[in-house]
Symmetry: C2
Subunit: 218 residues, 2 copies
DNA sequence: ATATATTTTTAGATTAGTCTAAAATTTATT
DNA sequence: AATAAATTTTAGACTAATCTAAAAATATAT
């Protein structure tokens, strides 16, 4: 049995692992869990005893196969609940993250199965993130970051890799939503910021920080 | 802010208060929370400091107006989620209690409002229990226990006041479901057990214990 | 390559919720 | 009304998750 707190640690280690090849540092985990490094050390030892992570002190941490499976079932529940909140309860996509953070820990396999069925077995959440299957396998979306797209190529926006309300509201303001066509017009050599055309219409300037969080299909 | 645990205590004190006029005893609370009396004493002191209950040591406990309101919003959430589980996810009414025990603690007013709307503002949960309104007011259902009904009167089954899977499965077995007509045929003087006719069809013998948990409309 | 800075871990405390065993209080019995 | 029985509270301890401050290990920089 994994506690609410343990599940949050596993989820965060999973997310960090997706961004880097190497072991995850104590500090990186502390930052995302909003705790202190000392607390993380304690928890890593505990997760290690439960065979959920591989951890050697001072050497960082990695999920075991079991730990990854637990993380993916939590992420699966999070994303299914987000679909429910947006599709059925008519929340905006920038309002659902906090609520899904709570719902993702509800413990009932039967519930997850029936929710999935009720939603029509969705493959993506409202932010374009793929939903892991019931066996805890994450499908490959194959999407790229907008920051990797060369000048003059046109792409379709398929998702975001950051779910904060402020970020999503900013996207709404400049007209970026799932499905729109984006054409990279110019990339500034100095800071890699870009000028893009959205849906053939308005020109727009965005930072590389924003571009990195946009998932697109070529 | 009230914790998960505090909410459970308040809910249980509320339920006990509905059954008795006098103060609720420490032991009664301990039994329903599945904890020891010593733990209850600690929690009652804490709830008292938070103005959620009136508590004098050795004299039992009562909810304050504030405490009752918190209890009722938890019960509201519990019952709304039960409607969701049965109406939308197609669970049986004997499968939803445990899951709703978890869902009732999800904290988001907006969520409760939208869920209520999505369900069409239901007035009763799948067990026939009235759903408190958003202001934390419990509607009077006006239903009676089957055990109070005199011989030869016909009534309609409207709810149950016990939600354990075993009880509900027993009801299903003998053909008792919401909406059926029940006619009290005979009341045994000795133990108050009754013989009833269900839906004009099969005769059936039930204990007074069962009758006390059946809510009916005359 | 040694000193300095950064990161991580240890040690010891804290809070919420629980427990057992013993003491205090209330209730019931004769 | 005194005593026995039952209930309730106190005292002290435990676990999970957190913290601060200090010590240890690793990484960086001259």
């Amino acid at each position: 049995m994994t506690s609410f707190t343990e599940e949050n640690y596993l989820k965060i280690i999973y997310k960090l692992s997706a961004e880097t090849e190497s072991e995850i540092s104590t500090n990186a985990v502390a930052e995302l869990t909003q705790t202190k490094a000392a607390s993380v050390t304690d928890m890593l030892r505990k997760l290690s005893e439960k065979q959920l992570v591989n951890y050697q002190k001072y050497q960082g941490v990695r999920l075991t196969e079991l730990g990854e499976k637990v993380a993916l079932t939590v992420i699966r529940k999070h994303r299914l609940w987000e679909v429910f909140l947006v599709e059925k309860l008519r929340f905006n996509w920038d309002e659902v993250h906090e609520i899904a953070e709570q719902l993702e820990h509800i413990d009932s396999e039967e519930l997850v199965y029936k929710l999935d069925e009720f939603l029509g077995f969705p493959k993506f959440d409202p932010h374009g993130d793929p939903i892991p299957d019931a066996q805890g396998r994450m499908p490959e979306s194959g999407y790229k970051n907008l920051s990797e797209i060369p000048v003059n190529q046109s792409v379709i926006m398929m998702g975001v890799s950051q779910h904060s309300a402020t970020f999503l509201q900013y996207l709404a303001k400049i007209g970026l939503q799932l499905g729109v066509e984006i054409c990279v017009f110019e990339i500034n050599d100095f800071d890699k910021s870009l000028t893009i055309k959205i849906g053939g219409a308005n020109d727009c300037f965005i930072s590389t920080e924003v571009a990195k969080n946009l998932l697109v299909k070529t």
